[in-house]
Amino acid sequence: MTASAHDASAQLLDQVNQALAANMPLRIQGSGSKAFLGRAVEGQLLDMREHRGIVSYDPTELVVSVRAGTPLTELEAALDEAGQMLPCEPPHFGEGATVGGMIAAGLSGPRRPWSGSVRDFVLGSRVITGQGKHLRFGGEVMKNVAGYDLSRLMAGSFGCLGVLTEVSLKVLPKPRLCTSLRLEIDLERALLKLAEWGQQPVPISAASHDGQALYLRLEGGEGSVNAARERIGGEDLDPGYWNDLREQRLAFFADPRPLWRLSLPNNTPAVALPGEQLLDWAGAQRWLKSDADAETIRAIAHEVGGHAMCFSAGATASPFQPLAAPMLRYHRQLKAALDPQGIFNPGRMYSEV
């Protein structure tokens, strides 16, 4: 356990119980690195950063349990030291990014289509509920089907279903070899190649296209990576590209127009979008810089079987893709089950939830 480890769960529980008694909404926050996502929340600040530290980590079990306020950099450093990693390579969006924020936002980096998402690596959680109880779900084991899976449900719920205080995550060894390359082929051709490679055991772990060239990362054993590198060709690429893509630091992201994220099915062909686009996840995630209105962008995403979320604060009143009526009803019922008084980040995702 690290020197700065601190268990503040009792204080957090106190603050939640006071908020429940006063019927006062809470704005749950770590460092605020992802505060720009979603809708603004009115409420008393519940600062998670005092509740921090790695609770247990045994590399041979491939499991780490960590408090929500722990800086993501601290967790990643501990894993790195043991030769392991968070395979979903979550974006930080700020130096102080916390583990709790990573789970709440549920965002994954370039490896996601091959490794799985943040939620895929969640094994267990501790949560303060809207009943004012500090409960434990899931566990520290790979396989566990006892009870409903409330831990994975927490991923991407933006704090609307409870206060996540601790999470147990599956981790994996870092790949033995990693190499990145740039291949100058147009988008149509790149998507065809990606569909072809996707059906073969080619060790791709990241694939992006910026309109000019295809960027690829290969990861695995020496034999497979070297063979694929030789077969695919292209020029060497600075691996820093993937961090810049994940953290939205590439020149593309400097465009002043609002940023949209389109999540589309695998193998969706090139789509004409009203603005500049950058492809990640082999095309399953497309970033768009556009002044077009939300309806236009969502209609295009819907047309090809996907959905769209706005990543620029204030650009639209409902940054999350709106839900169909029955779906929204079940969201509200679920929220009411876990947070009957509606005090946890009310309206962060949807005004009704």
Binding site: V141, M142, V145, Y148, C160, G198, Q199, G220, E222, G305
Partner: protein, 499 residues
Amino acid sequence: MNILYDERVDGALPKVDKAALLAELQAQLPDLDILHRSEDLKPYECDGLSAYRTTPLLVVLPERIEQVETLLKLCHQRGVPVVARGAGTGLSGGALPLEQGILLVMARFNKILEVDPAGRFARVQPGVRNLAISQAAAPYELYYAPDPSSQIACSIGGNVAENAGGVHCLKYGLTVHNLLKVEILTVEGERMTLGSDALDSPGFDLLALFTGSEGMLGIVTEVTVKLLPKPQVAKVLLAAFDSVEKAGRAVGDIIAAGIIPGGLEMMDNLSIRAAEDFIHAGYPVDAEAILLCELDGVEADVHDDCARVSEVLKLAGATEVRLAKDEAERVRFWAGRKNAFPAVGRISPDYYCMDGTIPRRELPGVLKGIAELSERFGLRVANVFHAGDGNMHPLILFDANQAGELERAEELGGKILELCVEVGGSITGEHGVGREKINQMCSQFNADELTLFHAVKAAFDPSGLLNPGKNIPTLHRCAEFGRMHIHNGELPFPELERF
């Protein structure tokens, strides 16, 4: 404590007039296949947990989703409980019928609707068998990764309901990791899509919540699964050990070397001998434990990893390390493991298969605990272990024809699960809670946690008509169960009145 539905502790069920319901179903759904005579209902009185049987009120065998929709609407209006069932291979009694409920058999929905090799997905009806998906994808060199040992018979709808696993979970994940989208019908007969064709979907991750919810939140009507490229090669190493502790440590050493095997299985001496007698896999029958380690992927990597793992196994004290020399031997090595259950069935009139998970480091202590319990209860226990992911399958050997042996086996099984919980594990890794482990849920979760589970259930099914009594015990059941299982002199659920 009996696990059959007991209204006294599990809650009152609605009283249903069978003749009236049958007449109404026949009128509203004239082309629906309905079984109602007792001789026709008999084959459906249990699932894979055959020690427990209940004759359902009616069995329906729909062939069109519209029939299910109408049926659910009618049952919702009339307050009739509905238990969904796929192939009925589940081992935890998740599809155990109710005397006052309809058994909704989804097995006739057996069409593969679409295989898209470039999109790497398959869209199938819920009654499609697990293995049939991989067979349909095989021409494209693709497959569906989760492979529960019942994969030849079990259906994908049931896999979703139970979050089924298999022997390759450590590397390839459980059902929940291999789904894109599930179409469901709610208790009210309303259609809803969870997940999407993309890698994520807006709102809460209801697909994750729904996976493994044991038919309590809705009925699966269609499943879109991810397909993966078949690994180029797979090789299997067999290592023998003179103690289970050494074998357990070797597993940790393989992981520490940065290698994630496709499959990593352990068997103890009793299982080894039973499997060898049955399959003649070439197992070393004198070994206290064997490890089977499958490495899969691109040929060059697999070759390197085999050399690394062999070295690790030898350093860990393996008395023998063998690489399957060809595909035939590889298949034989696996056949021994995959047939361990029926092999044990040959050396005992009956056996009871458990499904606890533990942090791997706790293995030596847990095996010792199991050995002590085995002695105390006078019943042999063979251990088969998904060593990579900590999922144990102790097989308790007993003879149901001997008065009291089944009860003893169940009590022993319950103790083993409680031992798993004590060391930080779970009462079920992949078989589900169903009715089988309904009492042990009281050991793993406290009253507040169980109360929250009931609230989640009520958010989807306020009248509690979908598979009542499964998965989550009532607090009254726990109070009663706790009275028989007092830990450290403390009564669990002290706030509840006792019966």
